[in-house]
């Protein structure tokens, strides 16, 4: 075989062997890398799905029924405490008013008591005058000495009883003043403090709700991003299949080149007459396979680039999730949330302490009112005694008048004294009536106050204790939820950060397309060189056009047949592939690449 064309064919034949070797390596070498990538993708998808599930749980935790119920219960409790405080405050005001009324009434007692003191003086003077007159009359006035003694005793009785009433009144005034001071002080400070604390606690609860709401929003955001990640993973799954599709295409190219080699071997064993035809055939096959190979490599590069893009997208989204979660964690964790709940617990404790203090004040008030009642009874006793003194004065006056009448004209002065004693008895009745009516008024007021007092008694103390216990329970439950929230947030943040890092590092390590492109370029360079040299020797044959028609059945993939068609068009041949392609897809609801029979 001395024909130069034949020598050229031999050279091409030899050149094809290492080129095909590169292609074989190319077809088999990427499998491992794609499998590894597939494993990582599965791992990423699983971890992403877990993040999504945890995020959903997190949303349920902070925005679910349990959390809402606890928050509502706490709000109701604040409202109950506020109502309670309102009633305590109103009661305090009423108590003050009542005590002030009693004070007014006690002032009313002063005048009659002064009247009693005057009566005492008058009685003492009358007693002395009676004694003097009795001494002047001698034996005739002997009976008046006893009368003077009786008047003196009455004077002492009036003095003692009125002094007793005065002491009791002062004691009452002191007691009421003290209670008024206590009630006013409670009103001025504690109620105001409790209202302020309740308002602050309500604000704190609002802040907690806002934090939880922000956290819930983050959870929902994570869920949305996770859905996008799922779509990205779907794109990766689609692109990953191009590894197998490209492998098949390269195998088809190798198959075609192997046949060319066999053909040249067989032909060159002959006389060499077939060499021009072989050159044309070599050009034809290399032209077609160059296009196929280039397309296969481009397809794999595009698919890998799509994988890279999707993975970068997933990585970026995962980084976004991590950042969102870190922010949510910073907003909810550190000391913020813990101190908020601790503060709320302390505030609840303060409020209940105030409520208990109010109860204590009311207990003291109730005790004071009992003392008022007791003192009023004592005063009542003194008043009765003075009433009796008044009656006795009346009797003594009558007795004195009778004795004076018996004494005749010499006892005229004693008659005058008897008249004076009689007037004093009338004064005594008037003064005791004044004191009595004041005491009755005070009694009516205290009785009314006892009826009004709603706080005194064990029931209210229980109510306050129950409110505090419920507040503790709710805050403890909220703390539990928030502990769990923090744990989940922390876990989510670290999981998503670690996932983002892994995805980003995996993405950075994907170079398969570059390696494929590099090896493809080597084999393409060889093929193009052979094709170029062959075409320079012998142009494309008319058989090539026929071959293009016949070869259309060999290429089963759409993409391969499209290249075939494109090349045929370049050589002025019209194939029916496009028509077949259009009819191949059913356009079903599942997509153009799906047919259900």
């Amino acid at each position: 075989m001395t024909n130069p064309l034949c020598s050229q064919i031999q050279r091409w034949h030899d050149q094809l062997t290492p080129t095909m070797e590169i292609m074989r390596r190319l077809a088999g070498s990427t499998e491992h890398q794609f499998l590894e990538l597939g494993e990582k993708l599965q791992d990423f998808a699983l971890r992403s799905s877990l993040i999504s599930t945890t995020a959903r749980n997190l949303v349920e935790l902070v925005a679910g029924s349990e959390s809402a119920e606890l928050t509502n219960r706490l709000r109701r409790l604040f409202s109950d405490m506020d109502d309670y405080l309102g009633r305590v405050s109103a009661q305090g005001g009423q108590s003050c008013s009542t005590l002030e009324q009693i004070m007014v009434q006690l002032d009313n007692v002063v005048q009659p008591l002064e009247g009693f003191q005057k009566m005492d003086k008058a009685l003492r003077m009358l007693s002395i005058s009676t004694k003097i007159e009795s001494a002047r009359l001698g034996e005739l006035g002997a009976g008046f000495t006893t009368l003077a003694m009786d008047v003196e005793k009455l004077s002492q009785a009036v003095s003692e009883k009125s002094a007793g009433i005065m002491i009791q009144r002062q004691s009452l005034t002191q007691l009421i003043n003290n209670n008024l001071e206590m009630v006013r002080s409670t009103e001025a400070h504690q109620y105001a403090d409790a209202h302020a604390i309740l308002a602050t606690t309500g604000n704190n609860l609002g802040t907690l709700e806002q934090m939880n709401s922000a956290c819930s929003e983050t959870g929902n955001q994570v869920g949305l991003i996770s859905e996008e990640i799922s779509a990205d993973i779907g794109t990766v799954v689609s692109s990953m299949q191009f590894h197998d599709i490209t492998r098949q295409q390269i195998e088809h190219v190798i198959e075609a080149l192997e046949k060319l080699q066999q053909h040249t071997c067989t032909a060159m064993e002959g006389s060499g007459e077939a060499c021009p035809g072989l050159v044309a055939e070599t050009g034809d096959i290399c032209e077609l396979q160059t296009a196929q190979m280039r397309h296969a490599a481009d397809q794999l590069t595009k698919a890998t680039q799509a994988i890279l893009d999707s993975m970068q997208d997933i990585g970026a989204k995962q980084t976004q999730i991590s950042r969102d979660l870190q922010q949510a964690l910073m907003g909810n964790s550190s000391s913020a949330e813990k101190s908020l709940l601790d503060t709320m617990e302390q505030e609840m404790h303060q409020v209940t302490r105030i409520l208990q203090s109010c109860d204590q004040a009311d207990q003291e008030l109730a005790g004071a009112m009992q003392k008022v009642t007791g003192t009023m009874a004592n005063i009542g006793g003194f008043v009765s005694d003075i009433e009796a003194v008044g009656t006795e004065i009346d009797l003594i006056a009558l007795n004195a008048q009778i004795k004076a009448a018996h004494t005749g004209t010499q006892g005229a002065a004693l008659g005058v004294l008897a008249e004076a004693i009689k007037r004093l008895s009338l004064d005594a009745v008037t003064q005791t009536e004044a004191v009595s009516s004041t005491l009755l008024a005070i009694n009516a007021i205290t009785a009314q106050m006892e009826d009004q007092s709603f706080l005194s008694g064990e029931g209210n103390l229980h109510q306050v204790a129950e409110m505090e216990q419920e507040a503790r329970q709710i805050i403890s439950a909220l703390s539990g939820i928030n502990r769990s929230l923090l744990q989940q947030l922390s876990s989510l943040a670290s999981t998503s950060e670690s996932l983002a890092d892994d995805i980003n590092s995996t993405t950075a390590s994907i170079h398969v397309h570059e390696e494929v492109q590099q090896q493809t370029e080597q084999s393409l360079h060889a093929l193009e060189q052979i094709y170029s040299e062959a075409r320079a020797q012998v142009p494309a044959s008319s058989e090539f056009r026929d071959n293009l028609r016949h070869m259309e059945q060999r290429y089963t993939m759409d993409s391969e047949r499209m290249i075939h068609e494109m090349l045929a068009a370049r050589h002025g041949v019209r194939l029916s592939l496009q028509k077949q392609q259009e009819s191949s897809g059913s356009g079903s609801e599942y997509g153009d690449n799906v047919d259900l029979f």
Binding site: L41, Q42, Q248, T556, Q580, V594, D595
Partner: protein, 121 residues
């Protein structure tokens, strides 16, 4: 209990993606490396569905479908061909052999799951 689907493909990476997609949707998956391996496994194991490639060594997809339809244990299961082949003539061949459906690679996960749900009822 999750339904069991067999995937037969000589490409490990395609098997991996099919299994991943199906498992994510809650199905159990058993893999076969070619038609012969699939037929052997289907002789003793009842599955709910078969997803097979067309071009495989030892026994291709058409041969596998014929073997399954000619057997007894999995005779009536839905069989979907998942292949790069898109020619109508090959589809007709698959349909004649007893294929239930035909999906041309590359598939999108949601497409595959929609088809599986459809054919499994």
């Amino acid at each position: 209990m999750a339904k069991l689907i067999m995937t037969a493909d000589d490409s490990a990476s395609v098997r991996q993606m099919v299994s991943f997609t199906l498992k994510q949707a809650g199905y159990d998956v058993v893999e076969a490396v070619d038609g012969k391996d699939a037929l052997t496994k289907l002789g003793t194991q009842k599955v709910d569905m078969l997803i097979t490639d067309l071009n495989m060594p030892n026994l291709d997809g058409i041969g596998l479908i014929k073997g399954v339809r000619g057997g007894s244990l999995n005779k009536f299961i839905p069989i979907v061909m998942l292949t790069t082949e898109s020619q109508d003539s090959r589809k007709a061949e698959g349909k004649a052999a007893g294929a239930t459906g035909w999906i041309v690679k590359p598939f999108k996960p949601e497409q595959l799951i929609a088809v599986v749900k459809k054919v499994l009822g």
